[in-house]
Amino acid sequence: MSKLDILKAGLVGLSLCLAGTATADPVKVGMITTLTGGGSGLGIDVRDGFMLAVKQAGNKDLEVVIEDDARKPALAVQIADKMIQSEKVDILTGIIWSNLAMAVIPSTTAQGKIYISPNAGPSALAGKGCNPNYFNVAYQNDNLHEAMGAYATKAGYKKSFIMAPNYPAGKDSLTGFKRFYKGEVVGEVYTKLGQNDYAAEIAQIRASGAENVFIFLPGGMGIAFMKQYAQSGVDIPVMGPAFSFDQGILQAVGSAAIGVKNSSHWSKDLDTAANRAFVEGFKAEYGRLPSLYAVQGFDAASLILSAMDKASIKDADAFKAALKEGKIVSPRGSFKFGNNQHPIQTIYVREVIKEGDIYTNKVVDVAFEDHQDAYASACEMK
């Protein structure tokens, strides 16, 4: 190699370095999520999924600060203000619960900051209230309930008993189910939020003559219901959204959950290279199986990383356009954004099974291909 060649190579290398630093402006992400108290399992999974993607990418220009909201709206607002004003973050993410999301997101987007939701998808932000600064990589809240309604119709159930807690997300859930369910609803019950004893409701289910039972009972409520249902001798099949039957919760429900059909936009056994790599990577890093929350965290980070490759955070419009392209390889498979910046995605029906000593899910059917939420048409964005 002549001296000239070495010089040429050096110049090329140097210019590459320069080019590299020119586009890669550092991005600071603030994550506000639930890490202690009730429901902290969800926040921990979002965080771990997010950090897995960050670690795998090894992009030094992405900085993440994480704080715990303890599921308290007031605290989440306080942390958001601090992150925006004194820590100067460019992007906020992480919130699990819709009530916290409604307290934080509108003011965040009004201040010109980008918010990327890894879970909560309240309808108020999907329709008329959509915003160019707000992206949701998870789902719109109604999606999984709609999927169960469609599946109940498809499976030929003519009489359904439906039940949810008496609070806004519970009402949205039953509305979502009924939007796609064509049969008759023989019983519709709203329980107290946080209720732990379902004897009275199970007696009604027994007497209702229903062919299937749809429940939306997230967290501990679902565990209690399933255990009591298994003891009652009622054998009407149960179905529900994935929240009550996801990886973190199934171990506490135990054998009572086996055979339950649930709807999810992701499953551990989806046979794609991206999903296998994600599940293996998560298991190697944290020593447990990932949940759908972990996937959502992972995709939120992937989305930010993909936009960083294309545009500088300093050019807000270009960066948002890059985000909206949604060019990520998601463990869920196909993924793209609709006009309201919520996902258009396939929703699967899973069944709870036992694999060795571990309770988990396997895909048995597809409820919707490329499903878009019901509010997108009310959103003025193109």
């Binding site: 019950v189 709203y190 732990n196 004893d197 004897a199 003891q231 009652s232 919760i249 506490a252």
Partner: protein, 306 residues
């Protein structure tokens, strides 16, 4: 609506009631004998459930877990009484509420620190799982049926303990006049510790029994605690008989309300409105009943001291 459904709901109310009684009995004893408001009673319920879940997972036997729940809750109760509660008897109720509220936080965070935030697994023992057939063609969960029987056995045991034994005489004497009983040479400090540990053991026992059909998780005791307070206010503070009657009343009224009110409103309202109005009213029902009883009998149904 059939009579079997009605009967099943009645059993459900009864089962809920007797479990509330286990909670309320300890609470009312402690208040009656020591004049102490113990908000940390729900934490002891949680301790019992966690002890049972851990030991049952470890040994594979629910019954060993149940024994462990009694021991752990009684030990935690005795420890708390000696370290904290003992200093509060002479203080006013506000100080007691503050200190025992702090205990709730300490117990909750301590449990979370030890066991994490995910719920623990605890299942019904094999021998009591599944349904049984009752006369009239009714299927009922065997475990809930056993809970009703256990609850009444404990009630009878408590009645015998209080009315027939030396310890019971001392407890009743302590309720009537604590200065006099101390003057008679009875170790009042020891008596207080025993009563507190007994109440704690009952709460822990209830936590373990109920934990098997609900979920064993941090903070599970507080919702039950509120209901237990309603029970002792209705029954008359300090009265075991009042606690039993109050607990069954609350259990049956709450269960029946949840089930009957929405159907009642459906008679003259549109379906989904009736469901939500009915559910909302059902969750208030026991408090309405409590207010009603207090208007008629301001000291509760069976006031302990006349």
């Amino acid at each position: 609506m059939t009579s079997t459904l009605l009967f099943e709901q009645l059993l459900n109310g009864l089962q809920f009631g007797v479990m509330l009684f286990l909670m309320a009995a300890g609470l009312t004893l402690v208040f009656g004998v020591m004049g102490l408001i113990n908000l940390a009673h729900g934490a002891l319920y949680m301790v019992g459930a966690f002890a049972c879940a851990v030991v049952a997972t470890w040994t594979g036997s629910f019954w060993l877990g149940l024994a462990a729940s009694l021991v752990a809750a009684a030990a935690a109760g005795a420890l708390v009484e000696m370290l904290v509660i003992r200093r509060l008897y002479k203080r006013d109720h506000l100080d007691q509420v503050l200190a025992t509220y702090a205990l709730i936080l300490i117990f909750s965070e301590g449990t979370r620190w030890l066991f994490g935030s995910f719920p623990l697994f605890l299942n019904v023992p094999e021998i009591l799982s599944g349904p049984i057939n009752l006369p009239g063609g009714l299927q009922y969960p065997l475990y809930r049926f056993a809970l009703i029987i256990i609850g009444f056995l404990v009630a009878i045991g408590l009645y015998l303990l209080i009315s027939k034994t030396r310890l019971g005489i001392r407890i009743r004497a302590g309720e009537s006049d604590r200065d006099m009983i101390a003057a008679l040479g009875i170790d009042i400090r020891l008596l207080y510790t025993i009563v507190f540990a007994l109440g704690a053991a009952l709460a822990g026992f209830a936590g373990a029994l109920v934990g098997a059909i609900q979920s064993v998780q941090v903070g599970m005791g507080e919702p039950v605690l509120i209901l237990a307070f309603v029970v002792i206010v209705i029954g008359g503070i300090g009265s075991i008989k009042g606690a039993l009657v109050g607990a069954i009343l609350v259990g049956v009224v709450d269960t029946m309300g949840r089930f009957l009110l929405p159907s009642l409103f459906k008679l003259f309202m549109e379906n989904s409105a009736a469901t939500s109005v009915g559910s909302a009213l059902a969750s208030m029902l026991i408090y309405i009943v409590m207010a009603f009883i207090l208007v008629i009998k301001p000291k509760g149904l069976f006031p302990a001291n006349g």
